[in-house]
């Protein structure tokens, strides 16, 4: 496993970086840490290893990867373990330059994420003001609902 990880990391280093030219300082940041020392607050940007690096699929290491185009996966709106990877902590869909999906897949994934959120399958990924329990929603929204993937037009 560790050998595979090293090979994967080497493969990834060969892939050209998306932002080679930058007018401002290149960020190169993974995490912002806020530390309190006595009466001073230190805010520093710490470059750390991505938490997903070790689990990354070999096919996903390519610069362009779509679950449907590359692997032929038929993603449903109930596959929350896949959909949650394309979503921020506050439930927002990540933009295409980060997800690396093709245009059609990006739109489809966005719709699937919306379906999963409306069905209350990803209640822990949402804005802080959201009701974490789908049963607490207002009116008809508190009842279970599911969606047909065939209703996605593109």
């Amino acid at each position: 496993m560790s050998i595979l990880r090293i090979v994967n990391a080497f493969n990834r280093s060969l892939v050209p970086h998306q932002r080679t030219v930058a007018t401002s300082a290149v960020l190169g940041v993974k995490q912002i840490e806020v530390q309190k020392q006595d009466d001073t607050v230190v805010i520093q940007a710490v470059t750390s290893e991505s938490p997903r690096q070790a689990l990354l699929l070999k096919e996903a290491c390519q610069p362009k990867f779509c679950p449907e185009c590359s692997l032929g996966l038929d993603v449903k709106h109930t596959d929350v373990l896949i959909l949650s990877q394309y979503v921020r902590n506050d439930g927002c869909m990540l933009p295409r330059r980060i997800t690396g999906l093709c245009k059609r897949q990006q739109k489809k994934m966005g719709t699937l994420v919306t379906m999963a959120q409306k069905a209350g399958l990803m209640p822990n990924l949402g804005p802080s003001s959201s009701k974490k329990d789908p049963k607490q929603r207002f009116g008809w929204r508190k009842y279970n609902k599911y969606y047909y993937e065939s209703s996605i037009k593109y």
Binding site: L56, L121, N124, Y146, Y147
Partner: protein, 178 residues
Amino acid sequence: MSILKRTQQWATFARTWHIYDCTWQNPFDSAKVVKNHLMGLHKPIYHPMNDCGDHVVLINTGEIALPGDEWIKRVYFHHTGYPGGASWTLAWQLHEKDPTMVMKKAVYAAMKGNLQRRHTMQRLHLFPDDKVPEEILGNVTSQIKQTRVVPKRLDHIDKETLENFPAIMDYPKDYVLR
């Protein structure tokens, strides 16, 4: 009639009790399955004049799921018989008043309207949650397969599965984690 044949006769015509969990199930798809067991259509000895229907216990009817926005699109009509006595109730409003009603009406509507229907419905036992009286649960010997796979919520998936699930997307090098 020999003892063996007599026992076979009893076993053939005895009423079986089935249980069906309505959690995340479409009531109208489920009704088609439940109806077969209620009327005895799944038995080789079935005949309309042959009273061979089974009992079906429906549990968790409050947890049924409807596709899309059907909770606000499906309307139940009732007329008191008096002028101006018509009323239209949305599915979610009916479900709020009685969590067993949508399921009950779905099974009732799935069967053909004849004199037998009311008697067949007497063999249907509905419960809004999983609290079933012991005397009913004690009769149950069979379970009907659900029509839909129950989806799992992300916050209900155990930590081990979450951490070991393969990643299909990595963050770019300049991504700021939040």
